[in-house]
Symmetry: C2
Subunit: 203 residues, 2 copies
C-alpha cells in the first residue's frame, strides 16, 4: 500500500496565529508531520509526503503546488495499488492506531475528523476520489456509495483530532505521545488547572 | 455490572447558554440522556440514573444532591459488583461503541473526553474512586496505578465527544445517530457550508 501524507509547506497552521508566530507555526507543523511519519514508519510502511513546495525530509517527497483535493486525486489516479492518505497534523497519532486503521477491511476506509473533516482514508479501489471541501466526511461516504464500494469507518479519538485551532493544542499536550507535546512544553505552554475548565497557557 | 449515568437535573448544559435558552437546554439535556440510556439498554444492561433531583424516567433513578464526585464515589463504595459510569451528554454514543467499551478487559477501563475529562469508566475493583475535577483522565490513571489496578483505555471519537459547548453541537449534527441530532434540526439548526469552515447555524 502507498501511504501519502499531504503537507502545506508554505502556509502552515494559519488558525494557530493567535498563539504561535509564523516561525513557530512552521516549526510546529514540521514537528506534527514528523510524528505522523514516525507512526506510519513504525507499521513498516514507507510514507510519501505530498508537499506544496520542496521540503527536506528523509522520506520520499512529491511536490505538487495545487490545492489538497486535486493533488491527492492525481496520486489516486496514477496509482495501481491501494492508497492511504493521512493528514499531517494528527497530533495524537500513535503507531497502534494507524496500524488498526490500515488493517480494517473495506474498499474505502475513512477516519472522520472534527467538524466534518476526513483525517485519513484508505482506498483499495481505482474509482475513489477525494473532495476535502466542506463536510468532506459525508462527501467521501457519498462517493464510496456511488461507486458501489464497501465502506468502513474507524471510531478513533486519536485519528479524529487534527490540530487546527488553539483549543486543539490542549489535546496534544494531554494525550500526545510524540514530539509535538514536548515541543509545546519547550516553547512555554503548560496546563492551567486553576479555573473551572482546564486550559493551556503560555508563559 | 451496574451502569450509572449521572445527570445534573437542575443546571443542565449551562455552557450552551449562547445558543439555547433554559427550557431548550433542559429539553436537550433530557434528549441526550435518553440517547445514552438507549445505547446502554441495547447492550442488555439496565442503566441507573444518578440524578441531583427527582426526575421522571422509565429506568431506576437514585437521587443524590451532592456534586458529581462524591455522588459517584458513594455508589462505588456501596457496590459489590463491577460498576460503569457513563456521562449523560455523549451525543455520538452508539450501542456498538458502548458494547466495545464494556467488554474491554482491565480492573479499570477509561474513556478520555475532550479537554482532559473522563467520559466513561468501568471499575472492576472495590478500591477505585473518582475525582472529576481538573484533568480527571490523568487523575483516574494515577488512582488506578496507585491501587495496583490493571488499566485499559478506549480510543473512541464517539465516547470522547461530550456535548458541552456550542461547537460540540456540530459533531452531534454530523455524526449523531439518536434523538439529539433530530432534536437540533427540529429547533432550527442546520449546517452552513458557505464559509471556509463548516458551521452550525440556527434559523
Amino acid at each position: 500500500m502507498r501511504v501519502i501524507v499531504p503537507f502545506a509547506a508554505q502556509t502552515p497552521k494559519t488558525r494557530l496565529e493567535p498563539v504561535l508566530d509564523l516561525d513557530e507555526r512552521k516549526e510546529f507543523a514540521r514537528v506534527l508531520l514528523k510524528d505522523v511519519l514516525d507512526a506510519i514508519e513504525a507499521t513498516d510502511v514507507e510514507p510519501t509526503v505530498l508537499a506544496t513546495a520542496p521540503i527536506d525530509l528523509d522520506v520520499e517527497v512529491i511536490v505538487d503546488e495545487r490545492n489538497l483535493t486535486p493533488a491527492v486525486n492525481a496520486v489516486l489516479d496514477e496509482s495501481d495499488e491501494a492508497v492511504a492518505i493521512v493528514m499531517a497534523d494528527l497530533g495524537l497519532i500513535t503507531s497502534p492506531v494507524i496500524e488498526r486503521f490500515f488493517t480494517l477491511s473495506g474498499d474505502v476506509v475513512l477516519a472522520p475528523g472534527m467538524a466534518g473533516g476526513t483525517n485519513a482514508i484508505v482506498s483499495r479501489t481505482g474509482d475513489f476520489s477525494v473532495d476535502y471541501h466542506g463536510v468532506s466526511f459525508h462527501d467521501h461516504l457519498a462517493v464510496a456509495r456511488e461507486i458501489g464500494a464497501t465502506v468502513n469507518v474507524i471510531d478513533s479519538f486519536r485519528l479524529a483530532t487534527d490540530i487546527d485551532e488553539p483549543a486543539d493544542l490542549l489535546e496534544v499536550f494531554l494525550h500526545g505521545t510524540g514530539r509535538a507535546s514536548d515541543w509545546l512544553a519547550s516553547v512555554g505552554f503548560s496546563i492551567d488547572r486553576s479555573g473551572d475548565r482546564v486550559r493551556l497557557t503560555r508563559t
